[in-house]
């Protein structure tokens, strides 16, 4: 079977998105997205530029609002609560609480520029989760070792290569012990020779059973690691399935066009 070999059928649902619709002004960007992600599952989102991949990912973390449908993580809506059947936006403090369980890795890393690597990783567990500092630092060093940067704890982000920054960003997100990790084109701002090191870290994560939603153009990664590939076009899911099916026998003309464009 594909993916990292983690059995996910029947595992509990981590992300449940239902009929998500999003407008930017008068432009409809998401056209009713349904997606269910189970514990340990790796879902790779692909689609042409502007198809809404980033927007959908940001909706999961409530970095973007949406106008219809609902998204639940671990059984709780993120950023909204039910008021007599209507979804009402939450207070910032409540949104923040929900986001703790969702890790996000950005295309541009976004490490805190005024803090060294260790502080970048430790700040959220200490300040948000209230972990004791010593314990958080010990775990931060473990995480740094895990992403292959055991000697970079004292470095500032600007002194690191893009690939190193992205691996620190992954460690920083993991430090919050999230239930799911979201990646938005984590390697597309990197020089080609650094893509591999980041993908390797992500592959390890998947093997360890982390639930992941990954937007990427790295089809090799999708083939090897994804349990499911989901194709977005014009703000809707046009095709979804195991990578060998989607890549081997794409059904939708958009998928065929997309893979043709990417593969050659």
């Amino acid at each position: 079977m594909s993916g990292a070999g983690v059995e996910v059928v029947g595992a509990e649902v981590v992300i449940a998105a239902e009929g998500v619709e999003k407008w930017f002004g008068s432009r409809k960007i998401l056209n009713g997205i349904d997606l269910m992600v189970r514990r340990g599952e790796v879902v790779v989102l692909i689609g042409s530029s502007g198809s809404g991949k980033t927007t959908f990912l940001r909706c999961i973390d409530h970095l973007e609002t949406f106008q219809a449908g609902r998204i639940e993580v671990n059984g709780h809506p993120v950023g909204y609560h039910d008021r007599r059947g209507r979804m009402v936006e939450d207070r910032e403090a409540n949104i923040a609480r929900r986001r703790r369980d969702i890790g996000m890795v950005f295309q541009r890393f976004n490490l805190f520029a005024h803090m060294n690597v260790l502080e970048n990783i430790v700040i959220a567990p200490v300040r948000v989760r209230g972990e004791p500092r010593g314990e958080a630092e010990r775990r931060a060093r473990d995480l740094l070792a895990r992403v292959g940067l055991p000697d970079k704890a004292d470095a500032f982000p600007a002194a690191l290569s893009g690939g190193q920054q992205q691996r620190v960003a992954i460690a920083r997100a993991l430090a919050m012990r999230p239930a799911v990790m979201l990646f938005d084109e984590p390697t597309s701002a990197l020089d080609p020779e650094m893509v591999g090191e980041v993908l390797a870290v992500m592959r390890d994560l998947a093997r360890d059973g982390m639930t992941m939603v990954v937007v990427t153009h790295e089809m090799g990664f999708a083939r090897q690691v994804a349990h499911r590939v989901v194709v977005l076009d014009g703000g809707r899911i046009v095709e979804a399935g195991p990578p060998e099916r989607v890549f081997g026998a794409p059904e939708h003309p958009r998928t065929q066009a997309l893979l043709g464009a990417v593969l050659h």
């Binding site: 973390d61 490490l111 520029a113 300040r127 948000v128 997100a173």
Partner: protein, 256 residues
Amino acid sequence: MHFDWSYFWQQLFHPGGAFLEGLWITILVSLCGQAIGLAIGLPMALARMARMPVLSYAARAYILAMRGTPLLVQIVFIYTGLAAADLLRFHDWQAGPFSLAGNVQAGILALGLNEGAYMAEIFRAGIDAVDRGQTEAAKALGMPPAMILRRIVLPQALRVVLLPIGNQFNIMLKNSTLVSIIGVSEMLLVTETINSATFRTFELYSVLAIYFLALTSVWSLALRWIERRMDAGRTQADSASARAGAMAAAALSEAA
């Protein structure tokens, strides 16, 4: 008319007690005014940037009024206008050896309120200058807004605003002469008082100018020192990125 050098040197190096007191009042008024300005500036900037329209518009109106009218008018208005309207009177204040005359209080308040508007704009620019991605990453980690501001945005914004705030204090030192209009005996008014008895205008104002130049120069040096200290932590990072830039440039020229 000739320039009386001996009188000039005398005033420059052996100023009378009144002048030294004026110097002290100039420094006091400037520092207190700046402190008030800083205290007002940050909350005002946050209000200006707030999503709540009431807050934002109130802050905008304040900034517009303070920056759009002469400081001299504001000083007179605050000292006499508020009292005339029976809103606020400034009483002399005494605590042990310290005393602060009513007009000095009014002068400090006026300078501070005015400075607050400029500080607000500087803080706003500083906060705006922090990359949006920093806030997004902090949000994604589950930080609430106040924590994001305090731990992520402000520390980075402070580096940006340090220099403009420092420059603004330079202006404050010079603007403090304006409180002479309400009879505060800072350096300018003391000089003018001595002048009215001696008519040694050129000599006295030369001395006054030199004292201000000394104040602003000392401050500029202090500012440079503070800046260097703040940069110290970043030097390593900066030289690394400079190295990367140089390497990229070298690679490009090789390719060409």
